[in-house]
Amino acid sequence: MSTQDIETQTPSPDGEGAAVGAEDIAPKGAMKGAIEKTGDYVDERSGLVTGHKWFLFRNVPGETSWFQTLGFTAMALFGLQAITGIVLAMYYKPDPNTAFQSIQFITNDATWGSLVRGMHRWGASAMIVVVFLHMARVFFWGAYKYPRELTWVTGVILMFMTMFMGLTGYLLVWDQKAYWATVVAVNITASAPVLGPFVADILRAGPEFGPNTLSRFYAIHMLVIPGGIATFIALHLLLITKLGIAEPPWAKRRFRAAREEEAERERMRARTPAGREPVPASPSFEPPQSWPSKDVS
């Protein structure tokens, strides 16, 4: 929107933006007016537009780094997984007798099937890598420290759920490698003390691997964990927008501020009467030249 549009529309006394001005008679102006009115209508009732502006135009520290794009990238990859996953689900049949054939069909016959399947599989690996790098950046920056501890906790849960997606998705292909790897993984789970056997039974849908195991893994992979991930991404983002994104620990502004703080402390020290803290008790203490000074502010 050009400044001219704003000028011609805002002065309108009754809020009907499109009513005055020569250009506004043109259909484009009317259209704009209608959009604006719809926007106002929605905003008055939901606060969505204002909220959006707040979200987009709020300040972040000036020196944000490229490392801080990894969280968003993880989110984008999750979105990609959701989309390719939905497409795959349209062709996939979670039954031991048909699962393998449906994968074969997707890979060899369905239009773009091989691409979508490839994107889903590589996307899973990419998401793991990106989430890990994101976690490493948060760790090495100390960005999990006060006040962002809970952001970290929700993040760790997100990472475990992402890995669990990989585990449950792997079985769905129903080929030898995946089947036996999952058998081992579940058997290992079963060997854990106390809860192990229960968790394994839940995963297998019974004491042995069978037809129900596949549909159970399908439901977990399709509904349970994605729902969990979406919920925790929402929590993660809520905390991030509330707390603001951390400033890089090496930000020039921080160093400047640290220097100023140091200088300020130096001045304070110089002003404090001899013998009182925090002046070091030194017999050779001599008042600096600036003391007593006039700039007592």
Binding site: T69, N108, L167
Partner: protein, 248 residues
């Protein structure tokens, strides 16, 4: 961080924000550049290295070495370190203790490391532990990637027809998921069975062990196999008891 340090951080952060830039477009454009690149890379990989169709599940074939996705390699490699060889390397370390301790440590990191310092070169403990974890994860993943892939059956000599049937049963029932014979099968959590015959078990002991492992080996984590026929138990037991002595 004590209260004063927390307040100082908040004040300083408010300053950083006040002197900062709007999220849109300064941060958003970077996000979009990297995310677009990542998605582009995924599409590139999907075209350049398409995912093949594997072999259909068939519990009776002989060439399955369980292989998880690469991001679980490190857990499988842990099984090779802790494989019940002696009291210092119980399997439970790999299957339960180490992963869970790491998981809990990761979760509570912010509550362990609460100092105000954020610059990594002034946090020697965080720096060393972070680098070490990354190094070991990388190393174990590398080991997992190097370990042999699919094998073509188990080569054993002098198999009698009964033992041959036992081998088939052994392969068909996922025993390789936990045991190895001559490098075929998983290195853990079960012991390597290449020389099982040398332990001097009786046929009946083997059968009892299969029906209920805990009856012969208290505390064993091996699952019970109560559903074979008498003949099948016999075949499996003969096969197991000859390993390393008759069949090698």
């Amino acid at each position: 961080m004590n209260k004063g340090e927390q307040e100082a951080y908040k004040r300083d952060y408010a300053l950083a924000k006040a002197q900062g830039k709007p999220f849109f477009p300064y941060a958003v454009y970077k996000d979009l550049v990297v995310a677009t690149f990542a998605i582009g890379f995924v599409i590139f990989l999907a075209i350049w290295a398409p995912i093949p169709v594997g072999e259909p599940v068939n519990p009776a074939t002989t060439d399955f070495v369980p292989r998880p996705e690469w991001y679980f390699f490190f857990l499988f490699e842990l099984l090779k370190i802790f494989k019940n060889e002696n009291a210092l390397t119980p399997v439970i370390m790999a299957t339960f203790i180490v992963p869970n301790v790491l998981m809990v440590l990761l979760l509570i990191t912010p509550f362990i490391d609460r100092g105000p310092e954020r610059r990594i070169w002034r946090r020697p403990i965080a720096l060393t532990s972070g680098v070490m974890v990354i190094f070991f994860l990388g190393y174990l993943t590398h080991l997992g990637a190097e370990s042999p892939g699919a094998e073509t059956g188990i080569e054993l000599e002098n198999l009698t027809p009964e033992a041959e049937a036992g081998l088939e049963l052994y392969l068909a029932n996922g025993c390789t998921a936990c045991h190895a014979i001559k490098d075929v099968g998983a290195p853990g959590p079960g012991p390597n069975l290449t020389n099982e015959g040398e332990k001097g078990r009786t046929i009946q002991w083997q059968i009892d062990h299969l029906i209920d492992p805990r009856s012969t080996t208290p505390g064993s984590t091996m699952p019970a196999y109560p559903n074979f026929t008498d003949q099948e138990y016999q075949e499996l037991a003969v096969f197991l008891n000859g390993l390393g002595t008759e069949f090698r």
